[in-house]
Each structure stands twice: as C-alpha cells, then as structure tokens.
Subunit: 231 residues, 2 copies
C-alpha cells in the first residue's frame, strides 16, 4: 500500500512541495535533483569575484544546520565572511599557512621549489594565492566538545546546497599552529573549535564528474574483504 509512509518498497517516492519542509526558508530554489548535486560536486578552487546574494548564503546556511548531530547537540557553528578586508586578511594567513605546511612536509619555500612535473599541487597552490579574492568564506566551527562526527556532516550539506545554487566550494584546513591567528582575526573565543575554511564562489570553469576509485575497491560486503555483489 502506497499511503502515508513515503518511499516504501515498491512505492514511488513522492515529493511534497519543498517549500513546506522548512519553517525558516523557502527551499523551492533547491530543485536540483540530489543525484546531480552529489555526482557533480567537483571541488572548485578557481572562483570569480562576483558576490553571492545574501539570500543564497542564508539558504546554504539553513541547509547546513539541518544535518544530524549526536543527540541533536547542534554544536556546529558557522562564521560567514563576505567583508573584503577580512577576506584579504584571511587570504594572507591562508597563503602563509599553506606554504608553511609545504615547507614542513617537503622543504618547499615557494613555487620555484615545486618540481616541474608536479601537477597535483598546482590547483591548491593557486587557491592559496587567490583565497584573498574569493567572494565568501564559510568557516565550520564548533562549541565544545567538538566531536567531528557532530559537526562535519553539516559542512557537506553546505557544499551540496551551494552546488545546487551554482556556487562552487572546496573544504580546506588551516595548520593548527595558525588557529590562534585565525581567532584573533575574527574575534573567535578560545573555546571554539576549527574544522574547515570553505571558500564559496561562482566557478571559473565547470562543475562536472569527479574521479573516484570504483566502489568495488573501497567497499566491503558482510566482512572485511568480502566482495560487493556488483563486483
């Protein structure tokens, strides 16, 4: 019987009008099929400077806070930054932090030290240069006790919602040594934890398919090493 319970086996998954599902925002703009959003969420590191309408940032934030958290503790906090001076200051910190990590991991001091054949670092290196120019950065933060399991699911909601609105994103991190400077920059109290800095902006270039290992390589069935039924 295809009655009250939606998505029963053998029953079509029926949609209520999306606008009815949130009291705070009108989510009818989120009409992109979820399959398209998930399967074309390429990390976008090249962004146009065009500002993102506040109403879309609100939608993206509203989507983020809908993610589950342990015991509905809702310890996640979001800091949205669109102020040009503050983004410029953060971009300087991010650039310095990115290169400090390359120095520590590989002894690189700057672009001249990147081996000529290395293409894997180019997009991230360019983002380190361009972070200062992105139209928005959303920081994923938390109140104690900071369990990532209660915070990070919301970051994926935020990025998928952005994708559905044509807004590119990429989850980036800061070296923990730089958390103090980050806190100073934005007046963030010491008790607040840092998880992600997610630049948001309209892409230069395209969304599109991503490159991932076949599921048969990363998925196990009934026991470790058990082949998936579709292998």
């Amino acid at each position: 019987m295809c009655g009250q319970v939606r998505g029963q086996r053998g029953c079509p998954v029926m949609s209520e009008p999306a606008a009815t599902v949130s009291s705070e925002v009108d989510v009818t703009e989120f009409s992109m099929p979820i399959g398209e959003a998930i399967f074309t969420q390429r990390s976008i590191r090249r962004m146009r400077p065009d500002p993102i309408p506040v109403e879309h940032l609100r939608l993206v934030v509203a989507a983020a806070v809908k993610a589950p958290s342990g015991g509905n503790s809702q310890i996640g906090r979001i800091l949205v930054v669109t102020d040009r001076d503050k983004i410029a200051a953060f971009g300087e910190l991010y650039h310095r932090s990115w290169w400090a990590k390359r120095k520590a991991d590989r002894g690189w001091n700057g672009p001249a030290d990147v081996p000529p054949g290395d293409t894997s670092h180019a997009p991230a290196m360019r983002l380190a240069d361009e972070m200062k120019d992105v139209p928005c950065v959303a920081f994923i933060l938390s109140e104690p006790p900071h369990m990532p399991e209660s915070v990070l699911l919301s970051a994926q909601n935020l990025m998928l919602a952005a994708r559905a609105l044509g807004i590119g994103s990429v989850p980036t991190r800061l070296h923990p040594d730089d958390y103090g400077e980050f806190r100073s920059l934005f007046g963030v109290p010491d008790r607040i934890g840092f998880h992600f800095a997610i630049p948001l902006g309209y892409p230069r270039g395209r969304f599109g398919p991503t490159s991932r290992k076949p599921t048969a390589e990363t998925t196990h069935w009934n026991e470790w090493g058990g082949p998936v039924p579709w292998a």
Copy 2:
C-alpha cells in the same frame, strides 16, 4: 550570458540528464530535489525489517564515495552488512556498548534506571534493542591517517542518498573500548579506523522536518558575534 557555465548569477541552473554524471551507476533514481532530501533528513531509528534492494545499496555507496577528501586521498572505506547472523551479532555488541556508556555516564544498568520523565533517551534505547533486526548496517571506516575531515562528508552523502530512495538512517557510534570486538566480528584489520555505524532501513513512521535552532543563533557574520543580515 547564460552559456556553458551552469549556475551563473542571473542564469537558471540548468540540469543535464542526471544519468550522464556517473560512469558507474545510473543516478536517474536520485530525482528527489536536494532541498527535500536535506530538509527532511530526520534521523530514523525505527525500521522495518524489509530488505533493501542491492541495487539501491550500490547507489547509496556510489553517492558516498563522491564526497571530497583531502587531496582526493579517498581514505574512506565502507563495510555494508546485510547478513542476518552478522547483524544479530553486531546488534548484541551495540546493545552492550550502548548500556555500558549509560552506566559510565549516568550509572544506569537498564531501562528501570531511566527516570520516568526522561523521553530524550527512549528512541536511542529502543534502537539499541532493535539494531539486531535492521535490514542493513553501513560502517564508515578509514585507512590511515583517519582524518575525520576526509571521511565523514561521505557519510552525509550516504544518508542523503538513502533518504532520496526512501531509506531511513541515523549515524551512531561505538564506545572505543568496543572497537576491538567490532574488528573481530567482521575481520577488520587493526589499521582500519572506525567512524560511524549507520543502520539503514525503511522507516516505521515518517520522514519529516527536524527541529533545529534558528540560523541566527548559530551563524556569525564577518566576525564572531556579528549578526546575520536576516536577523
């Protein structure tokens, strides 16, 4: 100009047929608008025993692995369990682990110790009883170095994809003291990290809106304490 780049400001976000966006699976079944999936992803703890078609589990796994990871490291691993005996054994472990945590945190030995007025634990307590009967459990695991930032985004993709197929889910954890027994149960090597146990099943009851704090309470604008423009 509304040309190649989708989702430009002022341009409609146009959809290519979803089937073109993944080489491994046909994602046309993921037609639910992303807004509906995100805004009705209520944690489902009461599940019917009906099995989930393998083809749907494959879609859910394919969606999970599309999430971004640091440097596309793809350290996430998924163990899907549908075997009834194995789920029964895991359910026994989960029940024991759940109560051990309540014993440690609150001194509770069993349902008789839960104060009569306490309604917040009832759903989780019932899930601890019923885990043995769910049709499927997806374990979110990882290869070293286990950074949650490179693993947990895929868990949210998995749960949203399940939601879009009418399949309920809830992210649960095990006490770290029980990881060893979990590994023995499924032959999981010591190097593999544990993040979530996500039961999957068709809901008894309904999906629907969730209760979250207003975004104005958990979102800061340009600096800590800065009010959101919609406050």
